[in-house]
Symmetry: C2
Subunit: 444 residues, 2 copies
Amino acid sequence: MNAEQFRRAGYQAIDRICDYHVTLRDRPVLSQVEPGYFRKVLPSSAPTQGEDFQLIADDYQNTFEGILAELYASSTSNPGFNWSVSPAYTKLEAVVMDWIAQLLGLDESFYNISEVGGGVIQPSASESALVATVAARSRYIHEHPQVAMENLVLYTTTQTHSLGKKAGLDDFALRGDTLKVALEEDMNAGFHPFILIGTVGTTSSGAVDRLDEIADVVSILRVTKHYPFLWLHVDSAWAGVAFVCPEYREAYQLPAINSYVDSFCTSFYKWGPIQFDGSCLWVRHRKHLTDALDVTPVFLRTKYGNALGLGKRFRSLKFWFVLRARGVKGLQKYISDGIKLNTKFAQSIYEPELFSVITKPSLAMTVFGLAPKSSPQLSTPELNILNRAFYARLAARNDIALTQTDLNEVFYIRMVIGAEQTLESDVDRASALMKSEAMVLLKK
Amino acid sequence: MNAEQFRRAGYQAIDRICDYHVTLRDRPVLSQVEPGYFRKVLPSSAPTQGEDFQLIADDYQNTFEGILAELYASSTSNPGFNWSVSPAYTKLEAVVMDWIAQLLGLDESFYNISEVGGGVIQPSASESALVATVAARSRYIHEHPQVAMENLVLYTTTQTHSLGKKAGLDDFALRGDTLKVALEEDMNAGFHPFILIGTVGTTSSGAVDRLDEIADVVSILRVTKHYPFLWLHVDSAWAGVAFVCPEYREAYQLPAINSYVDSFCTSFYKWGPIQFDGSCLWVRHRKHLTDALDVTPVFLRTKYGNALGLGKRFRSLKFWFVLRARGVKGLQKYISDGIKLNTKFAQSIYEPELFSVITKPSLAMTVFGLAPKSSPQLSTPELNILNRAFYARLAARNDIALTQTDLNEVFYIRMVIGAEQTLESDVDRASALMKSEAMVLLKK
C-alpha cells in the first residue's frame, strides 16, 4: 500500500466511522452472532499472496494495513472483556494467532484450534514473559505446595543476569553444560528453579541459546531427580519473526522450540510491518494459563464463557489487516530484504580493516566496534574509550540513529535494519559515514 | 465534535499522515528538541473551555479528540522507550498527568512537577494496582529483608476477598474496625500486611471504603507497633472520574486520598470520553516506583535519562486531544449529565413498588433487583431465582445491555449510564421495558 492508496482507504475508513456513529441509535445493542460463527467465515490460514485492501475493508463491517486497523479499532468503545460483549475481539484473535502460528511453522500443538495449546496477543514481549512466569509459578506451587516462595528461582540468559556471566556462554548464548551446573548448584542449595526464560536472538547481540542442549539437560533431570516442572519459555521477540522465512528456522532453533518449550513469544512490532503494541505468545497447555489467570468476576460471567483477562484493545485487527494485505509472500519479502541489506552492511564494515564485528551478523542486526588493524596493541579499556568517542560522534549527527551495548564489559555499537523504506543506498551512506567518522577520530 | 466535524478532521489527519510518510526521507532521524522544551511550550493546566479542534490538530506537527489521537499515534513507529527516542511520548505524558491531577483536585504532592510524586498512564486499572503492589512489596522487602515472602499479605476489599466478607462491611465498604481486627489477627499470626488496596466506587455496588477510618487505624499502628509500611493504594477506576465535578469530592473521599494514600488510580475509559486503554496512576513518592521497576538495559541508556518501562503506546495523546477539545467544563458536563440520568432512572425504578435498590444510586450506576411489595414473604433464595429469570428475560432482548452481580449471595442487576449519546428518552424507555418485563414475569 502506497501513500495514495492509504489516502483513499483512510478517507473511506473515516466515512465508515461517521456512518457508524450516525446510525448507532438504530443498531442492536448486543452482537447478532452465535458462538462459532467466526471460525466458519474465516479462512484457516493467512493468504499466500496479499489481497486488495478494498476486499479487506469490506470485511470489516461498519467500518483498513496497521494504521487503518488501529483507526477502526479505536472507533468503537469495545471493552474486549469476553465473548458476549466483544465476540469479534476474542474470536479474531484466536483465528489470527493460528494464522501466525502456521506462518512461523510452529507445531500444531500451539494452535488455538487444538483446544489444548493456544496463542494470545499480549501488549509486549515483557508481558508475555510475565504471563509465562505467573503461569509457571502457579503450576509449580500447585504441584509443590510445601515449597517456600523465596526458594523459587527464575533463570534468564541475558548478559545482566549472573547466569549469563558464567563461563559457559558461547557467543553470549546459554549452553547445556552451564545450565546443568547452575541447576545442580541451586538444587543442592535448596532452591527451586521453576522457569527458564531462554532467548533466541538477544537484543544486545542476537545470541541464540542452545535450546536442544537445554532441553537435554532438563529431560535428564526430569527423570533422574523427579523434577518435572522447569517451564521453558523462549523469548524470541525480534528474531522469531524471521521464522516466516523457512530458511532461517533450523539455525534459529525452531525444531527445538516445537519439540520442547512450554511457551514461545515473538513480536512483529520489533521487526515487521505491524506497529507497537502486540506481542504473540503461544503456550503448549492453555490450562496452565487459565488456571493461573482466570479471575472472572460475577458481573462478567456469561453463558458464552468467561473472560481470560479484563479489558483489552482490539489488537488482532491490525494483524488481520496486515496479514491479509501482505500475504505470506509479502511478509517473507519484508524480512529477507532486511537481512540482505544487513549482510551488505556487515561486509562493507569488514573491508577497511577499521572495525571488528562481535558475532556473525545476526539476521538484520550487526554488532560491531572500532578495532583498527593499524593499532593492534590497544587494550580493551582503551578500545572502550575509543568506541565511546566514536559512538558520541555518531550520536551527535542528525542523519543516523544507532544504539550501544555492553557485552562482557566491552562497549559495542548496534546497527539494526528494520524499516521497509530502507534502501541499499541508505546502507551505503551509513557505512560511508561511519568510515569517515572513524577516520576523523583516528587522526586525532 | 459531531460526525461532520470528525469527517473533516479525519480527512485532514489522513492527509497529514500521507505527507509525513512522503517526506520521511528528508527529515532528521533524531528529534530536534532539547530536554525541557515541552514544559515550556505547554500550558500547565487543561483549558477551562474546550478549544477548536483545528487548533489542536495544528499543534500535532506532521501529523485530532480520542479516535483521531489514536490514528495519529499509530501513524509513526515510535517505541516510547525513553526521552531520547520519543521525547513527545515521555514529556506529554508528564504534562497531561499534571493537567488531570489538577482537574481531579489531587494534592500537589502527586504532580510530576513536584519531582517527588508523579503520575503515569498504565494500560488498565489492573496494571495500576499491579504496579503499586510491586512497588509496595519492593519497599517492604527493602526495609524488612528478614521477612519471608510467603508471609507477606495483600489486603483488598472486593466482595470476593475474605476480608470483604467479614461482618464489618457497611454498604459493602471497608470500615476501620474491621481492618484493625484483621491487621491484629494477621500480625499476631506472624504475617506481614504490606499493602491495602482500598476501593472508592466498587464495580459491583459502587461501595466507598472509609479511607479516613482506615488511615486512622494505620496511623495508630504505625506509632504503637513500629509498623511503618502498609502502603495504601486507592483504586477508583470509574468513580474517581467524578472528581472532575468538585461537588462529589467530599462524598467520595478525595480529602482522605489527598492526605493519606500512597497511590491513587482512576480510568477515564470506564466513564468518560476517552476510549480504552489508559488508566491514570499517581504515586506520592516516585522513588518507590523507579527503585522497584527501573531496569534500563545498556542499549537504552542515554544522556537524557533512562527508561521507566520498555515499549509503550502514545496514550497521552488522546488525553491531550480530549482535554483540549472538551475543556474542564466539557468533562464536567459529561459526568454530571450521566449522574442526572441515573438519578432519574433510580427514581423511576422505586415508583411501581416492584424493585429494591441495593444501595443508594452510586453516581451513574444503580444496583437493583425485583422485590415486589405484593410478595413480601419471598426468601432470599426465592428472590434470587426470580431475579435470575428476570435478568434472563432482559439479556434475551436486543435493545438493552445490563450486567449482573452477586452481593453477599444476593443476585442483583447493574444499570450503568456512561455513553455521551444517552438521552432522557433512552432512560425512560429502559425503565418502561424493565417494568413491563417484570410484570409479565410476575404474572407467570
